[in-house]
Every structure is written in structure tokens, then in C-alpha cells.
Symmetry: D2
Subunit: 346 residues, 4 copies
């Protein structure tokens, strides 16, 4: 049973939840999931820009009479999800943890342990006072269970770490990975609810655009989670993201050089074993498709390799707003509260 669970399950009423930053795409997805969650009660929806509006008027598919409120610092509920732009959670999270609240922060503010990396990849001066437990349940389930506050992983990072971890975290015939090249395609909801011209339908229909080639801020997050210090010294990792004309989903192709030849069958079996207890990872015989995971918390993975067996090609698909954000955040909350990991997510 998780830390939070001990606390909440002694009483008889459902723990209460608030979302700070509730009107963006991740906030709306959190709202949708938490409204249906059988074991928590969603109470406050804080949203600066939409204060005073009915939630239903902004997102008509959300079945609630709630009204967006401005966050006033009153801490009335038990659990807080933060879905704020990067930088804005830095000052709020400590206040919440000081009051003993259970917290899941969806921003990048508390993901990187290294202050130098944080400064290099996020806005310079402002730094987190402390790192929070990294909420990727498939790798860090036990840490999450006892944590009070969680830093929810980035969407690209989730799709990439889950594709590589079985070859890094567990031995397969002593194979070492020497080089990983990742390209990921993101749906446009990943850029947030935004009015930029370059994200307009007219500009993005029929279009593809890469950005931050080899320099994206999820790179240090991925390497930190994989703990690549355990790998051979000349291990290389390169990640390039792209946006394409779809709303939801992240599709990652990971080309992994191996220092010895492995059969596709052995690779596949290794991945199945590694994830045999992970309810949201599905190792698939056929190629993942975004449409198979959209609106779900699943990460689909397919394992292929080169004809000579020296290269693994791992393909993963998630919904960026679910397993890449709100779904995983609730999965973390479930674990912290001692609930079944899948509650409210199937």
C-alpha cells in the first residue's frame, strides 16, 4: 500500500482532488479521467485564463457543472495535479508538499536531478529546490508507492524510455547497446491549446516539421531514467522530434545498435518478460498504430531487428495526453494511494 493510501484508507470518504491548470489539453484530459474515477472526488478546477467560465462551455464533452476558478492558495483537497506551463510549478509544489498534500506535477520543473541540465534545457535562473520521484510506473513502481510528490514524465520520454528500458535495465544474453537513434512523431495537441500560426490547420495539414534535432529537453530526462552511467563509455544517444498532421499520439522509432547479434524471437521474448507485470504495456506481434492506443493509457511496443540481428528497431505508440500525461498521472496517483494501478483507466 502506498503512502497516501495509508492516510486515506483509514477514513471512510473518498479523497478529494484538485487540478491546477485545468483548462489546457492535459488538464481537460485529467478532468475527464478523474470525473469517472470511482475512488476519488474531483473538486476544484483552477484555470487562470478561463476563470469564471463553465467547464462545459469550454469542453462540452466534459459532463460536469463545475466552473473554472482562480487558484487562491487555499488548500482544501487531499490531492493536487499540476498541469501548468514549465516554470510555474516551481513555487507551488513546495507549498503543497509542506502541507502534506499528495502531488503529481505534469511539468518538466522537477524532472532533472542535475541543476546544470535543468538550467540548460529549461528557463535559466529558476531552479527546483529538490528533485521529485520520477513517475514512470513501469520502472519505478516501488519509489512511487512511497512518494508524496511525483514528477510525471514527458510524453516523448515515456514513449522512448519504455522502448529502450528492457535492453538497459535487464540483461539479455550479455548484449550491450552501443548507440540509440530516436525519432518521434507527435500529434499537435502536444504543443498545447495554442494560437500560433505555425500550428494552424492551414499550415499543418499535409505538413511535417522536425524541431530541436538532437537538442530536445527530453534527452537528459531519458538518459537520467535509463541511468546510462551503467552503459559503456562511448554510448551514443540522439533524439529528434517531429510534428505531423494528427491531434493525439506519439509514435517513436528507436534504432538500437547492439554489440552482438540477437534473434527477433529472443528480443520479443525478452520484452514480453520484462513487461509481464505492466498492465499498460502491450508487446504486440504487429506494428503499433496510433489509432490502437488513442484515448487509452496503453503503450504498444513492437520489436523488430535487422536481417543480421545487429540492430534492434523498437517501435512504440502512446496517446500523448493519456499515457504521455494525464493517464500516467492518474496511474501514479493510484499507486501512491494504494489503489489498483489501472483503476479508472480501463
Amino acid at each position: 500500500m502506498g503512502y497516501g493510501g495509508i492516510r486515506f484508507m483509514k477514513g471512510y470518504k473518498k479523497p478529494t482532488v484538485s487540478i491546477i491548470g485545468a483548462s489546457g489539453y492535459s488538464g481537460a484530459e485529467l478532468t475527464k479521467i478523474l470525473l469517472r474515477h470511482p475512488s476519488v472526488k474531483l473538486e476544484k478546477l483552477y484555470a487562470h485564463t478561463q476563470t469564471g467560465k463553465n467547464v462545459r462551455d469550454v469542453y462540452p464533452y466534459l459532463d460536469t457543472d463545475a466552473v473554472y476558478e482562480s487558484f487562491d492558495g487555499n488548500l482544501e483537497t487531499d490531492i493536487y495535479f499540476l498541469a501548468l506551463p514549465h516554470g510555474e510549478a516551481l513555487s507551488i509544489v513546495p507549498k503543497l508538499t509542506n502541507e502534506g498534500k499528495t502531488v503529481v506535477d505534469l511539468s518538466g520543473d522537477f524532472r532533472l536531478k542535475s541543476p546544470e541540465e535543468h538550467a540548460a534545457f529549461y528557463s535559466g535562473n529558476k531552479k527546483p529546490g529538490s528533485f521529485l520521484t520520477y513517475g514512470l510506473p513501469e520502472l519505478f513502481h516501488d519509489d512511487i508507492k512511497t512518494a508524496e510528490a511525483i514528477s510525471n514524465p514527458g510524453c516523448y520520454a515515456t514513449s522512448i524510455i519504455l522502448g529502450i528500458a528492457p535492453l538497459v535495465k535487464k540483461t539479455l544474453q550479455d548484449v550491450l547497446i552501443t548507440n540509440v537513434s530516436c525519432t518521434s512523431i507527435s500529434g499537435l495537441s502536444g504543443a498545447g491549446k495554442s494560437g500560433k500560426v505555425e500550428l494552424s490547420f492551414s499550415e499543418m495539414s499535409g505538413n511535417i516539421r522536425a524541431y530541436k534535432a538532437a537538442r530536445h529537453q527530453h534527452t537528459p530526462e531519458i538518459l537520467q531514467a535509463l541511468d546510462t552511467s551503467t552503459l559503456q563509455p562511448d554510448f551514443g544517444f540522439t533524439f529528434t522530434p517531429m510534428i505531423a498532421p494528427l491531434v493525439r499520439g506519439i509514435y517513436s522509432v528507436l534504432t538500437i545498435q547492439l554489440d552482438r547479434h540477437i534473434s527477433a524471437a529472443d528480443l520479443d521474448e525478452h520484452y514480453r518478460m520484462y513487461y509481464r507485470s505492466a498492465p499498460f504495456v502491450r508487446v504486440q506481434k504487429s506494428m503499433p498504430e496510433i489509432q490502437h492506443v488513442v484515448h487509452t493509457n496503453f503503450c504498444d511496443i513492437h520489436v523488430a531487428n535487422s536481417a543480421d540481428g545487429g540492430t534492434a528497431v523498437i517501435v512504440t505508440a502512446i496517446d500523448n495526453l493519456v499515457k504521455g500525461a494525464a493517464g500516467q498521472a492518474v496511474q501514479n496517483m493510484n499507486i501512491m494511494l494504494g489503489y489498483d494501478e489501472t483503476r479508472g483507466l480501463l
Copy 2:
């Protein structure tokens, strides 16, 4: 002046052209370009499945009174483009070349020199009697100039070879490339005018699907064009294609490991020099986008690298039906006929 040019320019009338396989997407794009070409006369449009139909009824944007005909073996025109399914050009091309026709074949039938590779990646038994000159003008301009028959490159192959060639074909500070990982995203017109359920709008909207990971038939074509026998023995190359919800375009991300560190500025300058005489390659300061090249014969290339300079990330964009098929075919014809390479293509 090209071989064909000598022949045709002595006379006073425009050379005549036919398309065999004119009713597919590549055939229609060829028709569109050749109807506007100032220096050839499009005469016959052969299309088995559409025989008897007005071209205008099948493709209303084509401004012609022509009618699709069944190919009867009569060779009345000077130049033949073949845009047939793989395997169907094998028996036709020799008849055309025997009659001294100028030929551009858009299929994969005559691309691979190695019979073993042809058998492995294309339909087994049938083999080409001979390899044709590989029609990638940016690399093989002189060969094309004197050729009578050309094998037009594959669409993925074009986008990838143009992205790698400057690092393989010309020395940059003695740098050697040790490993290349390619992922390419193709628009759905690349699959042809097809009635497969998995290519329907309902299945592909909002969807992405990789296929033939590390096993696509353009892999040997790329390696052959790059002549990787000149590279270091343990050179690795992996290519994985994907389809995404757009109609036209190929977007390729090439992650290239280098054996020494090179600055982005040096890489960029090297690419600009390498393509300084190539009218259809644009080395761009900003990231390519499909919308910048669609309906053009341009290949846009952007050169980036990792922070440590040890990895180059080359991003290329083409229109699969133009630079990846019909446009490049006409570019080849222009060179063979001694015309300016860009005639009818700007």
C-alpha cells in the same frame, strides 16, 4: 548535350512522348508535367485499367482531350516513360531499347545490380537482363547524359541518398561516417491509387504506421548508390519507413554517427558546396517542411548536429510524386535530351 539530344535537335520538330501506366498517381503527375513541358509533345497515354476513358474524367485537373489507350506494342513516339507496378517493366524495356527509344522506367525493376538482391527484395524469379543507368541527377549527371535508358530512383531512396551523399562522396576534414539510422515518413499517395481498407481515410486519419522496419527494398538501392564499399568495414545502415496522414511528401530524418566532431557551420558549408550546381537541392537554414516542397521538384535539406558535434542529423523533404517520381523522371529526360535540367519543372 545528351545522347537523345543529339538525335532530336537535328530535326525541327519536338520529340514525342508516351506514358505506359499513365493512370496511377505517378502517371497522372507525369501527364501534368509533360502537358506543360515546352519542348516535348505528349502523345500516347497507355493505361490498362482505364482504357477508353477520357483522361479528363479520371483526373479533371488534367487539361487534355486525350483518352487512355491499351498498350498495343506499336512504338510510334520517341520517348517512353514507364510507370508500372514492379515486375511489369521487365519485358517491355528491352523492346523499347532495341528500337532505339529513349526510356525512363519508374519501377524498381532495373535498379539493383545484384541479381541476389533483386531476387530478395523484388519478386523472386523474374530478373532484369541488365541494370540501367541510375537516374539520380545530383550524383550521376554525366552517366545520365549519355544513357538511352534510365532507371528512376525510388522515392525514399532519393530523399535519403541526397541527405547522405555529401558525407560519403566528398571528403570533409577526413570525417568518416560509421553509422546511419534513417526514418522516413511517406504520404499515402506513395502507396498508389489503392482500395485497401488500411489506406482508407477512416483508418489513416490521425494514424501512423511503420512497416518493413530495417527490411525495406530501398535499402540495397541506397547502399548501391552510395557505393558503401568505399566506407569502413563496420559501417551500419538501418532504414525504417512510416506512413502518416498526408497525401504527398517524404520526410526523412538521418541520424549519422561521425568518427570525429564537426561543427554545424562546417557541415552546412560542406552541403552547400556539394550541391552548389544542383538546381533542385536547397540547403536551408531552417527546418524543411513538406508544405515547402509539395508540388515542386525541390529537395530541401537542413543540416543539424548534436551538441558535441559527433552526430549529424540531416533532415530532407521532397514531394514523393515529383522529385520522388515524375519530376525526377522528367529531369532525367531533360538531361538525356540535352535540355536544361529544369525545363518544364519550375
Copy 3:
């Protein structure tokens, strides 16, 4: 309490359900809804073309271990949904009703009372032995409650009837409607899971196509449901459907000529009153959008009018696979079984 409800609620176990024609888009949507329905147990999924396949392999988002079976005529469950191509339910429904089964047929086979109209708009010779209760709950709730078998309305018909009914079925200041022009745009899932070239992504991206202008088979269905015999003799009704590049949704614009001038406020109030007890109709202040109703059983309606008040413009939006098919079918089942109309649908 509905007929079925009497029967089922005497016992203590959940009624069991089968779907005949479970592998198309409507069948898959039915499966999704029924798997989550708290008060029935989904048992058999019959699907001719997919017999023997795991449901999960065909639709990975469906969380079930079920296998598609061939319908063998054994009638083991209490309730049957038929999601078959038009014509195929004609012989099956009588067998089911003879055995006392509760039936919802999603095809057009039992919708038209007039044999002449059935022959004219559906395949000629085959005719239904009898008409079934028309399952549009907002108009025929009481009939549905006591019915054993229901003919589920067409998707266009649902979106149009709900937009017109308040002006036909209930008096508003004695206004009569003299003419109705409807245009509806359907998402491509409405054409079924199909491999037609003209429904491919390459043909439909960026495209729109009207069809059956003024001749669509939902026209007599709409007029029958409105019972336009009560209207003035020269009442005119014209309906033209279109397909556009979206997967789900029907968007209908109904331009309605009135014989006297009515204010927008009066119209709006009249619609709100008419639907005040309909849990799935939302009369909205702002224009409906497909994205507001997709994946829900709601029909959003907005009421506008011309500056002079002589014309009403009613705009409606539904999800064609939910309120236009599977959701409405389950809504009908709920009513027949005496459940709350919304059970399993919110």
C-alpha cells in the same frame, strides 16, 4: 418499466447480449459500449468475415478476450443487436422475435412502412414482413418502452428529425413550416469499413463530395417520422448529403421556411422546452461543433434565424457511430429493459 425490463428484472442475473455483425464500425462501437455497460453481459460477437479472429487483434482498443464467431443460428442470449449490411437482417429478425428475443436492428430493413418506398430506396424484391417500432427515443419513447423489436434510425435521419421535430410535433404560435432544405456532412466512417478507392485517404484528404442529391434513402424515413401528412399540402423537403475529410460525425444544416416571423429567442425557448426531458439533446447557445459530440451520445442543436424572422436555420451535430447508430441502439435497449435511458452512455 419496459417490456423487456419486466422479464429480466424478475431474475437476479444480468440479461445477456449478442451482436450479429460485430466487426464493422457500428459493431465495434456497440462492443465498446456494451463491454462497459453495467447492467448487461456481452456474450457473443458474430462476424462473418472475421470469424476466428481475436476481437483485440482487429480492434486493439477493445478490452476483451472474445473471439469473432460465425452466426450458427443458436439463440443463447436474451438480447440481439444486428449491425448488418442492408438486406441481411430481413430473414434473421423474424427468427429472433419468434423466439421472444429483444432485438435492435441497426439496418434500414425495417424502417419504412410503405412497401413501395422500401422497394424504391432499398434493394427491390426483398421486403420486410412487417415494420418495427422506430427507435428514436426523443419522439417515440412510449412505443419503444413496450416494443420487443426496434428499428434503429439512420444516422442522417437522426440528426435531421431531431432538428425539425420541435416545429412539427408541437405548436409554436401557430407557425407552420412550408419548406425544409437539409444539407448534411458525414464523416467517412459512415460509409463503413471499406476498401473503395474513392474512400482512400489520398482521395478524400482535402476533398468534399455530395451524393444522391435530393434522392437519399433517409428522405422517406425522415418524412415518415415527422408524419408530414399533418403538414400543409405543398410542404417541400429536400435533403442532400456530403462526405468530408473527417472520420466521425454528422453535421446538419436545416433551412426552414416559416409561414410567419418568429424571434430567435422564441425559437430557442421552444426547442429548450421541447427537449427539456431528453437527456441526450442539448440546445446550445453557440454553434455546434463535431468535436463537442464525438464519442458521445449527445445531439447538440443550435437555433438561428434570418434577420426578418421568416426563416429558421437549425444546426445539429451528432457522432454518427454513437447517437447515429450504436449509442442510440443501446439507448433503445435501456428503455426496452426499463433501465435509465442513459445507463452506460455517459
Copy 4:
């Protein structure tokens, strides 16, 4: 020969052209067409927000070394196209016509003859000093020929007027039209190059939204062009536009009540006769599709009717940026200069 033609063709050099408002979507389309036009020379590209930028950097598909400039009031060229937001042409056009320039204004500033209608549908106070010749060549060819300045029609208006005119402007068996209901679907480029959230890809993918139901500013423009004062007093006209997830194109469905019954064949023949000299109107046997007209100056029209012949359903398709804006503007220029109407447009 047109007015301008007399002036220009006496000399020996091509007339010169400038575009004021060159960096929006209509301005870019004008640039593309005029760069290829054989009989004018494009010189100045004025664009306030992009001043100083290379045209090629903003629109890489435009093959020009031009740089966007700020309009300084110097009038160096012979012809001016204005592609400005509504209201901004009001003060510029008089200056141009005073200097004897040939002008095509693409805004709505000079379209409406009635000051009351202008005030009601466009921004209140500012009014045009005078109405300009309405540049719909299929109806007003002779007026355009002798005009110095043209007001280019709205995109919706073009698609609708061309669909109705044959029944209003020319007698067909004495039939009178009593009522017209129009719904049009526009691609999103019609909203301009815009950064509004509601036009983002994430909001508009899979979405449809009507607006200004029965109140759009093209309504008076359409009625003025049709000169409906000639129609019977109780003639009714209602127009509702929608946006859908495509970039280019306007698709209009016109449901027209007739006071007597006409066969489809007679209607079709009447339309063919009416447009027999119009090079850009194609009366088609099959249903128009956006993909058939996109990137062309054609208006495709299909004529259908109800089973009883009392209602005509006319369906039209254009490219909003070509026949609905830039292409039609150049068509008008061609006529004014005495060129062939189609020059540079096929």
C-alpha cells in the same frame, strides 16, 4: 480590347504589376500566378508585417528573389492588386485610380452599392466613396472590359452566384425561382493566415463549425449581383457557411425551389448553354469534388433535381484562393488589358 489593353499594347514592354498585401494567402497565390504570367511583369510586393523578409523565406515554393517592402505610396507600376483586410483598401484605391492605375481590389470594401448594406455588413463608419465594377467575368464581362478598377467578388459569393445565375439571368421555360437555400463549406485558408486557437489543427481536425447562419456579409453581395429585384416579390434567399478540415476549396449546395417542374436534362442543357463561352466554368455530369478544382481557376457545377422536378439542387466547387480570389483577380486583369481571359491561368 479592354481599356487597359489599349493603353498597354501600344507600347512594347510588358505592363508592370504590384501587389499591396502580398504576404497573406491570397497575396501569395497572386504572387505565384503573376510570376508565371507571360504578359505582365511582377515588380513590387508590399507587405506590412513581413517587410524586409525574402519572399522565398516566407513561401519557399515561390520562385523569386523578391523582398517584401512597406508600401510607401510611390506608384511606379501600371497595375495594382490589393489583398488587404477589409477596410484598408478604402483610402488606397482612390489614390490609385486618380493616377490612372489599373486596379483589382480583392477586399469587400467596394462590393456593395448600398451604403446601408455596407454599413450593416462591414465596419460601420468607413464607407467607400464609390462602388467599383463587380468583377465576376461570367456575368459582367463587358463591364469589366472597359473598367479601370474592379472589385473582386467574395469567395462564397463566386461559388453561389455561378450556381444560381443561369436560372435568374436567362429564361428557362418561364420557370421562376421562389426560394434558394445555400450551404457552403470553406477550407480554412479562407480565414486567412491566422493564429486563432479555434483555427488550430488540434481544434479543427475532425471538426465542422457553421457561423453567421443566415447573416453572412456575402448575402447582400449575392443578391445584388443576381439583381433579385427582377424576381418575384416573395423570393427568399438564405445562406449559411461552414468551415471544415481542409485547407482550400469552397463547396456549395444550392437547393432551389422552382415554380414549375423541370427535368434534370433540361436543367443541365440550360446550364451548359448559359456557360458555353465561359472558359472556367465546367458543367459536369458527375458530382463536383474539391480535389478536381483545387489549384485551378475552374468552377465545377453539377445540376441535379428532386424526383418530382420541383426542386433543383445545384452543387458547385471552386478553389477559394484561385477562382475565389487570386485567379479571378488575374482573370479580371486579363480582360481589362485585352488579353485572352485564360492567359497565365491554365
